[in-house]
Subunit: 248 residues, 2 copies
């Protein structure tokens, strides 16, 4: 009777039982065999099917519920949810890695470094209420001899005081910050823009050529840390995001 019983000899993989239950059910949902609204077997039925304890089944179902694939209702059972899950995992690229993946030598070059009391615009960008010291950086990421991206960054020195001791002459502030400040939240804005003269000049492209602009704000435990704007020439860059609707 049991759907299981036999060990998978083939893969040689030894996955845990609750993991196996989880992926069995997930596969049935994702394949469409169990449509949205379908009631999946009760815990005690799965307990019998897999010949295991309720805790084991419960672990699998709880994870599926947390992942949003199913909905659990007391006294009624567990049901396949509507595939409403419009969330996704986006991979954020490290520009160095991206450039080196192209087989080109990477280099960062600082254009400007300015410490100042935050202007109104700075505070808007960072999401700050109070005034305080900020570090404004501008730099170029190169792929070989060609400019690859222009970076305009603000760092909130009240949150990252150590940044004041760093010159950022040839190390990019992004990796530097990532290695030092744990971030708890971030926000991206992605848009297209025509290059103005300054940008065209820095990136060595035609004025009004299309550019991809990626802006990121980052917080660490409620405190704004940094705002950065990356500007890429349209030809040089495609953002790629690959994802699954939920956890596996």
């Amino acid at each position: 009777m049991s759907l299981v019983e036999t060990d998978d000899i083939e893969g040689g993989e030894s996955i845990s039982l609750h993991q196996r239950i989880l992926s069995d059910i997930r596969d049935r949902i994702l394949s469409g065999a169990w449509a949205p609204g379908h009631r999946i077997p009760f815990e005690h039925e799965l307990t019998a099917q897999y010949n295991c304890s309720r805790m084991t089944v419960n672990k699998a179902l709880s994870q599926l519920a947390k992942a949003g694939l199913i909905e659990r209702r007391r006294r009624s059972g567990s049901f396949v949810r509507q595939p409403q899950s419009q969330a996704a995992v986006l991979e954020l690229h490290d520009i160095r890695i991206e450039v080196e993946a192209l087989g080109l030598p990477y280099r960062y070059e600082r254009l400007e470094r300015l410490k100042r009391r935050s202007s109104a615009e700075d505070r808007t960008l960072l999401g700050l209420n109070a005034s305080g010291p900020v570090l404004a950086l501008e730099g170029l990421h190169f792929a070989g001899e060609r400019p690859f991206a222009l970076e305009q960054r603000l760092i909130n020195l009240s949150a990252v005081a150590e940044a004041d001791e760093e010159e950022f002459l040839d190390i990019a502030p992004g990796p530097w910050l990532i290695g030092r400040v744990p971030w708890s939240e971030a926000e991206h804005r992605i848009r297209a823009m025509a290059a103005d003269e300054t940008i065209a000049d820095a990136l060595d492209i035609d004025a009004s050529a299309p550019c991809l602009v990626v802006e990121r704000r980052t917080w660490s435990a409620e405190h704004p840390v940094t705002h950065v704007r990356f500007i890429y020439p349209a030809e040089s860059h495609t953002l790629v995001a690959r994802f699954t609707p939920s956890q596996g």
Copy 2:
């Protein structure tokens, strides 16, 4: 989606113990109190601290590990991971919702509908190996009287046969598919582009004006389902992605 849910209802009532342990530890990590590399207390220490069983502590730590915040090593303990976690949750917008959020009336209009055997290009876009029937759709999303986005879509009819019975005259294929096909994986490509004449014409903008292009491929249980390309005039659109660090 982050497994480290922050569903802290501010009423603060009745959260489970393992949930509280989890968020205690998460807060210490995100606030920086426990830096990357720091060894967090052993399970048996937390057991004593919270006066609970090891299973309860284990549940909290397992979730933190799955979320990528900590790394667990047998015989050594659990350690705060480097904040390398460059993954993010991206909200995928439903264009209708987006337009209506602007206070403008939304409308979808089909420009073209073509059923054909997949061309080589179709197969590349969809990620198909074998030939088969596809549905090629082109349509315009309107915000009020102005074109808001141009949509070019391929649907793999071998995966979604029902689509052949739908005209898609004034209902957009996106929401139609989401309500019908559970997707298991997707891939986005985002880039900037200058409008060519066809696009400029459809969107009623100047030729060579910058546009944001979002391409999405979707799979359901290993089968390619659809490829869609959204083209937005640069002024009309900013993609926003807000997220917390999760899975590595």
